[in-house]
Symmetry: C2
Subunit: 202 residues, 2 copies
């Protein structure tokens, strides 16, 4: 293998393009937090990251792709916290994920939504590459619930996830921030329970 | 009444400040559709509407209040289309309202959401003065459903509306626009039915 010597030169366990990728994503995240999104240009990212424009375009085919990747890069994967029922599993997992959203992550999620509203291409990219993929473990858990006979076989899994995720987004995007986070948590919990009440096998 | 002559001078059925209000709101809507929101300044609105800064501030106490009012002014009120059940009433009313959202209204709803994400004060204002008030007829219909024994007495009405509205917003704010609007309508309808399934009195 002709590349073996070059490969041996790299830091162990970290192939070169992963390093490049995380350098560029971190620089882009910094810029997104500092300035208006329109000012997060490829030139600014090149300057901040020290990575050349050519290398950048080898990895991401457009500015939108890079922004979508950066906006997603701060989110951790949904890890299911297994409970006694599918409802408990989903509630515990979503509540843990919501706790994980610190100010920085929250600011970037808001940026992503605002940007997606102004730019259909970016919203489609974010959805296809990132947001829709985060739903997969949730869909798997619901399908498992159907399989074990906990949930009705004719439930529309996509509609169910739209409801759960929709109610979380609604709190951030439409409602006024409440003085008491407990009131929000209680209402969202009631909402998710209501969806489950509708989906239960009878 | 000392004002009676001046009042008689006005066009019948249209008191002077309603005319001022609609002139200013229409000018603000035009500007919001034409340019970046940050460029929709009080000066620009004054210039476009021909209404003085002083008169403008007599009616709205801040730029945020005026923007929130303008963004809301293009929406028609939710009119309940009475069906045989509360589910039919809500579905028919929401679907009719969704049909009413043309490109112009859609663009302004997206502007409102994007703006609210960048500006907590504006989101709170929009929510308190406008958005939360649009929920009232829906809440009344759900409470009626509880009263007639169609829906469970212990349903959390606010959580239920958050679910229904949340699923509509989710389509616009997070999902990619779908090639077939039928697929979206079908999924949203399944979602609303699922909420009702959960809320039914058993």
């Amino acid at each position: 293998m002709p590349d073996s010597i070059a490969v041996a030169d790299r830091r162990p366990g970290r192939p070169r393009d992963t390093a490049l990728e995380s350098t560029v994503l971190a620089a882009t995240v910094e810029l997104l937090l500092e300035r208006d999104t329109r000012d997060v240009t490829i030139s600014a990212i090149t300057e901040r990251s020290g990575v050349s424009r050519a290398a950048l375009y080898r990895r991401w085919s457009s500015r939108e792709e890079l922004l979508a990747a950066a906006l997603d890069s701060v989110r951790s994967n949904v890890e299911l916290k297994r409970g006694a029922t599918t409802l408990e599993t989903i509630l515990a997992s979503y509540e843990a994920a919501a706790e994980d959203v610190d100010n920085r992550v929250g600011a970037l999620v808001k940026k992503r939504v605002a940007l997606g509203l102004e730019n259909d291409k970016l919203r489609a990219l974010s959805w296809n590459r990132h947001v829709s993929r985060r739903r997969e473990p949730v869909a798997a858990e619901i399908r498992r619930g159907i399989q074990v006979g906990e949930l009705s076989a004719d439930v529309d899994v996509e509609a169910m996830i739209d409801l759960i995720n929709g109610v979380y987004y609604y709190q951030m995007v439409v409602r006024e921030p409440e003085p008491s986070p407990d009131a929000t948590r209680e209402r969202v919990r009631n909402a998710v329970k209501l969806v489950w009440e509708g989906a239960l096998r009878r």
